[in-house]
Structures are given as structure tokens and as C-alpha cells.
Amino acid sequence: MAKYLGRQTIKFDLPPSIVSTASTVGPKEGKGPLSSYFDVVLHDPLWGEDSWEKAESKIVKKTIERVIQKGNLTPEDIDYIFAGDLLNQLTASTFGIRGLSIPFFGLFGACSTMAEAISLGAMAIDGGFANYIVAEASSHFCSSEKQFRFPLELGTQRPLTASWTVTGSGAVVLGKYGPSPYVSYVTSGKIVDLGVKDPMNMGAAMAPAAADTIIAHFEDTGFTPNDYDLIITGDLGSIGKELTLQLLRKNNYDIENIYTDCGIEIFDPVSQDTHAGGSGCGCCAVTLAGYLYKEMKNNKWNRILFVPTGALMSPGSTQQGESIPGIAHAVVIENNWS
């Protein structure tokens, strides 16, 4: 059975294998720096559907089908799906998954959902409750704008601190046995809120949660930044990344040389006009399923700390003057474990 290490971290006895990954992204992501790592790049953000929500559901369904197929498995082999998205009542996930006949846990962790799904899935496997699970997360620029911000055709200006919601879905199959890389440790995040109220500056709202979880991970496990080839947070973007570095420095951790952020990697902010960077559940999901997984397979990195972050607000909470609660879950992914 898995071991508790400190308050927030567990170590798996038999680290689940990442058997396969799949990613689907929209046209803008397909023009970004990570383009070549994605399995499917859509030319039409509606993908032939008649609404943004239906399009996102189709992206979810096709990505899950693809990841199962890439793992040489059938839907019957999958014990659970752990998945989530940003829409009310997890519209994209539930309607995408409804035809698949696989037991389903719907998760909401905002943009941290991918790490939440992997954490719970890995716990289910190491606990002996599953042999294979799918962890998936998705977001869609247009459906998110519609729900959280303004209609697409409204003539507004986005502040320089705003991020750009990624259109896409990333999925992984975790298996009890299988090839590297493996999920070896999980540090589950607490909700951290330092009073940021601006929903157009989510990186600033989430940075304290990212720093809190990274510090908890080091304290619980005894690891130091030197034990990692790469530490990559979810979608803090450029401002949140700087804030995280500063908060960690205050606690005497310097990770600058090995640290980046999914929201920074996925877009080119100058040519793609994305301001602070990418965001949305899909952002770190496709970055993991495409870029991180494939480069770990190439041994560019052998041990990474993957820390997706989520801003847990709703349009209603913002209008009522509440600040934005942040959360971050950390997952250690490594090629060799002992």
C-alpha cells in the first residue's frame, strides 16, 4: 500500500505506468511552439458541431477513444475515467463520455484538473481498485469565454495580465504495469487565497497555491530542486511564474534553472497575442500528453514535478466581491524509480 509522507504527500509502492497519452488541440495551439507534439490539430474550432459546448464534448470523446486505442486497449479494459473541464456541471466531460460505457468520476479542479485526475487515478491503481484508468481534462477558448467572460464578437480589450484559454484535451492511460514513465509521488494541494480579486490576473491568484504545494512537496519528501530535471507548473503564465519564483525564494528554494510553466510553453505571446500565456484545464493536459510525455520518452528529462494550478472562482463569486481561491496539485513523473 502507498505510504504517507508528511501531511500532503503519498508515495506509491508500485508506481502506476503512463501507458499511453493522446492530445487534441485547436487551430491556435496548432500554430504554437508545441505544435509538433500534438496528435490531432483541428482546423475548425467547432469541429463540424453546431455549438462550442458540443465541439468540446467531441474533443473529449475522440481524445479518450484515441488514448485507449494507443494503449492497445479496449474500453472494457478501462476501470474508471477521471475527468473534468471548466463548464457548468462538467458539460464537456459528461456529454463527451456518456456514450463510452466506462465508470466515470467527474472532477472540478479548474485548471488543476489534470493533476487531480492523475492523482486519484494513481491512488485507485496502487490501492488495488483498478488495473487501468483514463485521466483526462479539456477546455475550449470559445466555450470558456462564453461562460466566464464576454461574447466573442464583443469589441473589448483584454488586459496584459489576462491569459488565453487553450482549446484542447489531453488524456493519459495509467496502468498497474507498463513501460516508463511512472507516477511515483503525489502531493495534494490545499486551497490558498492571498486575496487577489482580479479574474483577469489568474496567474497572480494561483501563484501562492503553486508555491505552497511545491514547498509542501519538498518538506514532505525531503527532495530538493536538484532531484528534478524539470519543475513545470500548470498555467500561471509569465506573471504567475515570476511570483511563484519570488515566493519560493522567500522560503529559500531556488528553482529558477529548472522551472517553467505550461501556459508559457504552449503559446508564443508576441506573435500569438496571448498576453500572460495559456490557461484552462486543457493547457497542462495537452502539454503533459504531448510535450512532456514525448520528451520523457526521449530521455530529455528523467524526473519531473508536474504542478497544474487552478483558480477556483465562478463568475458569481467574482461579482459578489470574493477573492479567488487557488489550488495546485503536484505529481512526480519519472522514468526510473526505486
Binding site: P151, L152, E153, P159, L194
Partner: protein
């Protein structure tokens, strides 16, 4: 408790320092020339209509209708949002911006049907303008009635 307040205060200072600011001078200049151009076009339309023998009130009303129509067309053609991104308040303040704020949610929510989609959501952005604009005009009207 005060320790948390101090942490929040300190953090908000860090955020303030690291968050990039918009270029106020550039944005104002853009808003000025695009907004001014829209108004100049409106004046041109008014003058042309007047040259056909309409009086000032009739010409103003027709100009309003034409500008709203242009705002709607440019929104439907996916042009007004790019204009708005460039010019900010320059495209929000003129009446074309008002048209844009009604038509853009109407397009966005068409999938939810004509009653609960288009009908209900059409005024989500323009609604406050209509409500408080109407209240303000009533108040001004009352003041005008007693103190003219």
C-alpha cells in the same frame, strides 16, 4: 489574523509590481482617432441626409439608424471585435458600440434558442446602460421641468 492580513498586503504589492500596465497614452490616442472617425462619419451622413431636404431632427434620427446598422453588420462580419481590441473606448462609446453590445450576445446565445437564448441574453451587456440611461433621462427631465 493580522499576520494573514500582512501577508495579503505584501503579496498584493508584489502582484502590483510584476503586473504589466497598459500603455495609457497609446490606448488614448487610438481611442481618440477611431472614436473621432466614427463621429465624423456620423456627421458626414447627417450632412448628406440634410442635403436631401430633411430637417435636423429627421437627419439625426436617420443617422442613428444607419450607424446602428453599420455596427451590426461589422459585428456579424467578425470585424467589430478586432476594431474594439485596437481602439477600446473609441469603439465602445459611439452608438455603433451599443449595437455591438446587443448583437454579440445575440449571436453567442442563438444556440440556446430564440426565447431563452437570443431574447433573454441579448441585453446582458447593454441592459445596465438601458436601465440607468433611462433612469438618468427621467431625472434630468424632472429637473428640466422645474428649473427651465
Amino acid at each position: 489574523m493580522s499576520q494573514i492580513q500582512d501577508m495579503k498586503k505584501e503579496y498584493s504589492k508584489m502582484v502590483e509590481e510584476l503586473s504589466p500596465k497598459s500603455n495609457l497614452l497609446r490606448d488614448s490616442a487610438r481611442a481618440f482617432w477611431v472614436g473621432g472617425l466614427i463621429c465624423a462619419i456620423g456627421q458626414l451622413i447627417t450632412n448628406i441626409i440634410k442635403s436631401f431636404g430633411y430637417n435636423h431632427d429627421e437627419a439625426s434620427m436617420l443617422t442613428t439608424i444607419i450607424l446602428v446598422f453599420l455596427g451590426i453588420i461589422l459585428t456579424g462580419l467578425d470585424i467589430y471585435d478586432s476594431l474594439g481590441k485596437y481602439a477600446g473606448a473609441g469603439t465602445v462609446v459611439p452608438i455603433t458600440g451599443f449595437a455591438n453590445s446587443i448583437v454579440s450576445p445575440a449571436i453567442e446565445y442563438k444556440k440556446e434558442g430564440y426565447v431563452f437564448g437570443v431574447g433573454a441574453k441579448m441585453f446582458t451587456i447593454a441592459g445596465p446602460v438601458l436601465v440607468y440611461g433611462t433612469i438618468a433621462s427621467v431625472a434630468v427631465g424632472i429637473v428640466h421641468y422645474f428649473f427651465k
